[in-house]
Subunit: 201 residues, 2 copies
């Protein structure tokens, strides 16, 4: 998709995890959601800031992007071979390139103090391990409940730009396939599986 | 899944095609369906036999398996990187190992004569190219229409054995995600995304 991530040395966390979940390919977005919940909770606990999940794969603080998740998979039609979920977190970054200056932030900028990268990392991995176990035990509802509480989208007006379409409406909920349910102005509820989202106030 | 395919030299066709379709991961079963339609049509035309598609990825002649399709993909959450679709066709095989003797056949056994492997191959590739172009042009409905006509499942009683469940009912239709719509005896219509199917008479 031509997306880039800026990662200066020793300032952030850039991590990939390889997983072999017992999921079908259409369930793979659950991994992204599990990762987002674990990271948001770790950031809130360690840095003490109000970190929120922006559907489908960003973490925001004060409306600015502090972390992003990218999940890739190898699969056949009825089962996943493996998944690689990668996360990048801006921890102690204080400067960003011009093109993302207005939309990016870091845990340090948001909390006003240096944040221990190792503490974020260990808390994230510990949270992730717990939720991944829930996922494997078939208890995705628990993760979905956490995701809903941490979301900055639900109940808000959103505009979603997909590859071939644009949609605006109220984000009602997210379902277990990771789809965002959006009530359009026409009154219909659309199931959106991917796209770039902007929040409208 | 521990599946095997028996492939003695010079008797069959064993082929993989790498593709980079503009599809989202949940649409990948369309590739399997496109491949099945192209192969069934090529076999019917060249070998002159009534070859039918058994959902999700087998081709049958007289109720016995003559070809199988296996599609694997590499994807991120909102787009496919690449797909490898593999097909194996029993062309001039006359003998099968004991464990599949009752359920497998070949174009030669079904038609009573030797079948030119090169003719099958070129007809298949030519059919596939045409339908793949339809797929990329957003005209999957055309392929779905062909699939429905070639299916041996629709309107029939089926039993589907999934990883954790079993289901029996009438196969009503297949949808654009490749799901089989099955009307159970309870009267509900279930959307089945994967599983092994047996036809019940």
């Amino acid at each position: 998709m031509g997306r880039t991530w800026i990662s200066p040395p020793r300032e952030g966390i850039w991590l990939s995890i390889i997983l072999r979940p017992s999921l079908e390919p259409y369930e793979a977005p659950r991994i992204t959601m599990t990762c987002a919940v674990a990271a948001a909770k770790a950031i809130r606990k360690v840095a003490g800031i109000d970190c929120r999940i922006k559907w489908p794969n960003d973490l925001l603080v004060e409306g600015k992007k502090v972390a992003g998740i990218l999940t890739e998979m190898s699969a056949d039609m009825d089962s996943i071979n493996f998944v690689v979920t990668g996360i990048g977190i801006n921890v102690n970054n204080t400067d960003f390139p011009a093109e993302i200056k207005e939309t990016a932030t870091s845990l340090k900028l948001a909390s006003g103090k240096n944040v221990d990268r190792l503490k974020i990392l260990t808390e994230f991995l510990s949270q992730f391990e717990g939720f991944y176990r829930d996922l494997e035990n078939g208890d995705f509802e628990k993760i979905l409940g956490e995701w809903r509480e941490l979301s900055c989208n639900l109940g808000k007006r959103v505009r979603i730009i997909g590859r071939n379409s644009e949609l605006e409406g109220i984000a009602l909920d997210v379902d277990s396939d990771g789809a965002l349910l959006v009530k359009t102005d026409g009154g219909t509820v659309e199931r959106v599986l991917s796209g770039d989202v902007s929040l409208r106030e």
